[in-house]
Symmetry: C2
Subunit: 338 residues, 2 copies
């Protein structure tokens, strides 16, 4: 295990100490618990937005707490859900009189704990909480249809949900409308990735799976979950040719649509390679007459040192586009008004 | 070689096509040459700042072209200098009537070509050009003293030189003053790193060096240049305990000083580990009574998929601090006024 860490059991608390030390004007924690991160920029009367999940995915999840995005984040150990109590403490801290929206990825532990936290907020603190569960990974399960349970994993596309809902809350929309926006972003974003190498959970000390030096896995999840197929490593263009049509067929995205694109590095894949991939993505979108309103390239949702990347496409209407283009300022994501 | 690329010889041109496709409102190229990148936000009467160097270090070098930072960048193949002709074409394109400053790292090929480009600018285009060569790597050579040739490599600390000089130019300082600021930043920044794994130049197809699974190299350069010593992998705290005092002793930094810090990931090292490292950096600086005015953590100067990181410390006075805190907006680095 080749990592720059101290004792594995201290990995996440020490990472958090580093984060609070580096960004003292932006984030702090409540309840004397480093894992209960909240913004330093609380706005009276604004809907509070909280997220949470296991560690090991920086900048996901805590990196998006800041102006124009989220207000709090419950932080678990590596790949483990934080507790309902931690979520509840954050909920109390960020409620500014307009209620709180939970946005998180579709994982059983998170669902269980966020649901319990929402009940605690209702019964013990009289705070109205609504929840939106992001499940954007085309690879991971059956299709999402109206009224059906979404069995898909939440992956990098949750960034778009944070961005649009965060901007909606910053516009002082009420809780129903911020939830409506988050749901609309969820319904219009799809992601698929490719994994090339595993990562090591420090406490475990060995890779979660093995993959041959000449292999890749299409559709791998951000914890190394099994994807759609494993095969010989293809070229960048061939990978995009295989992944992107599966994304586009899913909603489906159609000629004349406008989209935002996120090329997300999983941690170990250089930015150079992510741009080689975007080149092919744009060629295909152009050929399909799908217009790109904005492109993000970089590490937005990682799996520590895992190699690989994902492609997310968000279909926008005028409202989502306006919210996407709004200013945001967090320790990890900054955007001037576009 | 496990990379998401197409033909190795097309790696950099295809990466550049991806960059221009992703950031059409921010950057473009001149002379029909993808390797001659210039800003879309030229400001009349402002000193132009150009940089350049080999590829494989994103966001270095081209990622810092944008508002409040640089105006142009000559882009070489992986780890290879761009040509004097390319630098000259950029110089002509970005000159806005106030002359041009070259800021680049201390590598022989770059020095040779930038010097030739400056002569061409003088003789063929009557553009005044000044140059500042960054050499911040404490590990790489003998001390820098007044009047002595700096034999140190330029590494991640060049980010601070770009930031301060870019803000000075944005304030409409003249060429002499922008150069003065760049020199002051160079004289006050020091960096040292640690490498854990090699990277592969696509055209070469195999690692530039080998290092055992339980080893690290203190002081390794961003092309894998030999450092100060190779030994067993230490803990995060032990690595900082070894590196940081060598940085602090160098200028030296003293009790009561104020500094900015950059923890830079080399490409393959997760952000989580970088924060564990910053935690220890801050503890030591606090114990030394050195105040941190701002902290940057992330990938600022990489070596593709290389694992490892570097620590840079910039000693600031009121002028450098003002310039550091100014707004900047490039495709890869955004900062609201601090």
């Amino acid at each position: 295990m080749k990592k720059i860490i101290n004792k594995p059991e201290n990995f996440i608390p020490e990472m958090l100490e580093g984060i609070y030390a580096a960004h003292p004007h932006d984030v702090t924690y409540v309840n004397d618990d480093l894992h209960c991160l909240v913004t330093q920029h609380k706005v009276a009367g604004k809907v509070g937005i909280s997220t949470g999940g296991g560690s090991g995915h920086l900048p996901l999840f805590l990196g998006y707490v800041g102006k124009g995005m989220l207000d709090g984040c419950a932080i678990g150990d590596v790949f483990q859900s934080p507790s309902a109590e931690q979520m509840f403490e954050i909920t109390k801290a960020i409620d500014a009189g307009a209620g709180v929206l939970y946005i998180y990825g579709n994982y059983n532990g998170d669902i269980f704990n966020f649901d319990m936290a929402a009940e605690m907020a209702d019964f013990e603190a009289d705070i109205r909480v609504e929840s939106v569960v992001a499940g954007d990974d085309v690879a991971s399960a059956a299709a999402v249809n109206a009224g059906q349970k979404n069995t898909r994993r939440g992956v990098a596309g949750i960034f778009f949900v944070y961005k649009c809902a965060g901007a909606a809350a910053a516009e002082m929309m009420d809780l129903d409308n911020v939830k409506r926006i988050a749901l609309k972003a969820c319904q219009n974003v799809r992601t698929m990735g490719v994994g090339l190498s595993p990562c090591i959970v420090p406490r475990v000390g060995k890779p979660g799976f093995s993959i041959a030096e000449d292999e890749m896995e299409i559709g791998m999840g951000i914890h190394g979950e099994t994807g759609i197929r494993r095969g010989k490593l293809l070229s960048a263009d061939e990978i995009v040719n295989e992944i992107l049509p599966q994304i586009l067929d899913d909603i489906p995205y159609q000629s004349g649509d406008e989209v935002a694109v996120l090329i997300n590095g999983l941690g170990g894949t250089p930015l150079e390679e992510q741009y080689v991939v975007y080149r092919r993505v744009q060629q295909i979108l152009q050929a399909e007459n799908i217009k790109v309103c904005h492109t993000y390239v970089g590490e937005y949702a990682t799996a520590m040192e895992m190699s690989g990347l994902s492609i997310s496409v968000l279909k926008v209407d005028d409202e989502l586009k306006r919210l996407l283009k709004a200013q945001a300022d967090t320790p990890f994501f900054k955007q001037f008004q576009l």
